[in-house]
Symmetry: C2
Subunit: 262 residues, 2 copies
DNA sequence: CGATGGTTTGACTTACCTCAAGAACAGTGG
DNA sequence: CCACTGTTCTTGAGGTAAGTCAAACCATCG
């Protein structure tokens, strides 16, 4: 499977400090690492890549060498079926991880593309594996991270298989709300970095349906949307809709994204 | 979340030898382990549980202590939403793994139930983690296993979001065909251990639709089905249907189940 | 500025769901 | 071995949520 090397981001920003907000790093800290470990972790987190909107981080079929942590911006990952059709498999916000689905095949089964100007940390996988062996907490964290992604995919399966369009959108909006809130941003006013068609694709709907849904939600007074800017005015109503989907009585995010913390 | 301890399978069959066909074990062997490692691996794979049709391996919310490898029989895993609705998240055949989605939460986010008389290996997770640290190949295998599950879930997302009912069934049938073949069984004649409603639930369809699909496929001469017994008569036709979904030109299983090998 | 691609809106179609009623099947106990 | 009973499966009729098509609208950007 050949790729256009031209479009690829080859340049690695060499210098600058480690991204201390990267998930693996921050997650390990609280567990208490000794200086030597911090230093080594720091070392492999050095490299950063700047991406502009539309830039490709990796293509389907690319050899798997590293996983990536989003520092700033946002990316989407998507598979491409033989007829060229895309299926968005996830949106990735700061602090979240990309590429874990490539470990088993040894190549990336999906493509990752920046939705806006983004910076990401490249974490070479062999080094990470090696280090995980030395640092039990890191190994555990890595396993947790992957496990969480499985768990979230299962919630998404549930949403796609059992929920109607309205419920899916409600789930998604609350999911993003929760992810923004976790980063210390507003849970009710935020900017969705992806297009409506990316959203609709992710939710297994037609773009037209997505558009109609936003209008309906707005008519109900549940939210205000102006382009990508969203203001949730009645989160409770959305929760009522999404509620059916929640696996637990309350509190736990229903469809929390591929975030790093757990 | 309280459970009926009564229905739980508490008894652990003590004695008998390790299950040498369990995925982790068999997967590590080819990589060449020394005797000591084999012995230790053997040790934690000792315990087996016999399950009868309908028996519950673990419930949603159960504390996470171990992962499980299917030795014989078949199980399904499913989440339960607040309104009591089930969503089947996977079918698990011999050599495949259950419970990896529980690592991050520390409790099982889904329920596992035997579809027929089954025996499974319980693999205590702390011991497994510990051993993975000592045996690099095992660590890698574990990461691969989880990565593969993510990858497969993404294929399933694609199927649910972008494929119609016929295509989904074709994909599923070929998937099972491939899984049976891998175990050395016939790829064209097999017995699906689950009910039509489990199948339909998994594929995000109504049971009635499933029934109609089987009839249609039979009318087309693509297969013969008598209850749970399936005979694929024109796999090529099914492949043509499912083909749209394949991520790669050919060869690779489209929606291969949570199997151990890769 | 015009070109391009994303978004909205409306009219129409359809794949799949729902409901309901039989038919086949699988246990269970006599 | 055969009724009996509760499931699961099948089949049909009819409804509807969401898709498709097509056109207008609107941002963004060279």
């Amino acid at each position: 499977m050949a790729h256009w090397q031209g479009e690829r981001i080859v340049q690695l920003a060499g210098s600058k400090g480690a991204c201390s907000d990267c998930s693996l790093f921050s997650l390990c800290l609280p567990k208490g690492l000794d200086d030597e470990h911090v230093r080594r972790l720091d070392e492999i987190l050095q490299r950063q890549r700047p991406l502009r909107r539309g830039d490709v981080l990796f293509r389907e079929g690319d050899g798997f060498r590293a996983v990536y942590a989003v520092r700033a911006g946002a990316l989407k990952t998507y598979t491409i079926s033989r007829d060229g059709e895309e299926q968005v498999t996830g949106f990735h916000m700061p602090g979240e991880m990309i590429g874990l689905d490539a470990v088993s095949l040894g190549e990336h089964p999906c493509e990752a593309r920046a939705l806006e100007t983004s910076t990401i940390c490249e974490i070479p996988f062999p080094e990470l594996e090696e280090l995980a062996r030395a640092i039990p907490d890191l190994q555990r964290q890595l396993l947790r991270l992957m496990s969480k992604e499985i768990f979230q995919d299962h919630e998404m399966l549930h949403a796609l298989a059992r929920r109607n369009a309205e419920e899916r959108l409600a789930i998604l909006l609350l999911n993003f709300s929760e992810r923004f809130a976790r980063r210390g941003l507003s849970a009710t006013r935020f900017r969705l970095p992806m297009s409506r068609s990316d959203l609709s694709n992710y939710l297994g709907l037609a773009p037209e349906t997505m558009s109609r849904l936003f209008r309906r939600f707005q008519e109900q007074g549940w939210l205000h949307s102006r382009g990508k800017e969203i203001t949730l005015k009645e989160p409770a109503s959305l929760e009522r809709l999404a509620g059916h989907c929640q696996e637990r009585p309350c509190g736990r995010p229903t469809l929390s994204g591929p975030s790093s913390a757990d």
